[in-house]
């Protein structure tokens, strides 16, 4: 059975997470193999998630860190 492209885009997330049942997994795989447009959709999804993993960590504002350290010193001096 061939699923629609819309259905593919809905199931693709769970497919990436390994959360699909055997039948749904087979349908996603079949659709991916025959639909070049959904392969483009999937390629963009993979690149997006990869780019998210590559984003650098953002440091906290200096003011926040200063307030935390002040509280820590106040606690220590009791």
């Amino acid at each position: 059975m061939i699923i629609s492209c819309k259905k593919f885009t809905h199931l693709f997330g769970d497919s990436r997470e390994g959360e699909l049942s055997g039948l749904d997994r087979a349908m996603v795989k079949l659709h991916h193999s025959i639909c070049p447009m959904c392969r483009v959709y999937a390629r963009g999804m993979d690149a997006t998630v990869e780019a998210l993993h590559d984003l650098p960590e953002e440091a906290a504002p200096e003011e926040t860190k200063s307030r935390v350290l002040e509280r820590l010193r106040a606690k220590r001096s009791g």
């Binding site: 959904c38 860190k65 509280r71």
Partner: protein, 200 residues
């Protein structure tokens, strides 16, 4: 990212360097977490600031029954929920936009692509990878608050789905739906932004 639990003894001993590392590692994701409940603006930042002071005061009592980030995340969420209740916002978490379809339904006809997806950047081209990274930072800001919190915690901060569900108090299924909608919506926004950037 370093394992925060390795610093636990130093944190309990009041080590300043360990606290600085902790705040640097968790402040931004915690603000995103608070924003999922109270929206963007100074309130979310205030909630996290107050939560940090509670962490300093209460670290001695932290028994390690959860991870540090889920404990601190829980403090932020409790405070954010209280604030949200005061402001009488209707949904318990996120906004109505979190429930919308990630892909514009007009791009399909009868369930099949009418306006097919595009994706030009090559995964091997370093310049194009940089362009995607730059576009993604702007696109994340356009996501609905709930989706933005989930994708930040899962994909940028690499928290486990269990940690995200525990902190946000949502089911595994709900978390997966929000994560997929966020990724899909971002992917479609990037498609548009990258096409605009490539236009002469």
């Amino acid at each position: 990212m370093p394992d925060l639990e390795d610093d636990l003894d130093a944190l309990r001993a009041g080590d300043e360097a360990a606290f600085t590392r902790l705040v640097d590692a968790l402040h931004r994701p915690l603000v995103r977490l608070a924003e999922a409940f109270v929206g963007r603006g100074p309130t979310a930042e205030e909630i996290v600031q107050e939560a940090w002071l509670a962490v300093v005061d209460g670290i001695d009592k932290f028994e390690g029954r959860s991870t540090l980030k889920t404990w601190i995340g829980g403090i932020v969420v409790n405070r954010a929920k209280t604030r949200r209740a005061k402001d009488a916002r209707e949904l318990p978490f996120g906004t109505a936009a979190d429930a919308e379809e990630a892909i514009d339904p007009a791009r399909f006809r009868g369930g099949f692509w009418k306006d097919p997806p595009r994706w030009s950047p090559s995964p091997d081209d370093l310049v194009e990878r940089r362009l995607v990274r730059e576009a993604i930072v702007a696109a994340i800001e356009e996501l609905p608050d709930g989706q933005r919190a989930v994708i930040t915690l899962r994909d940028i901060e690499e928290w486990s789905s269990e940690e995200v569900c525990n902190v946000l108090g949502i089911s595994e299924t709900n978390q997966r739906v929000l994560l997929h909608r966020a990724r899909s919506r971002l992917r479609m926004m990037l498609e548009r932004k990258l096409a605009e950037g490539a236009r002469p």
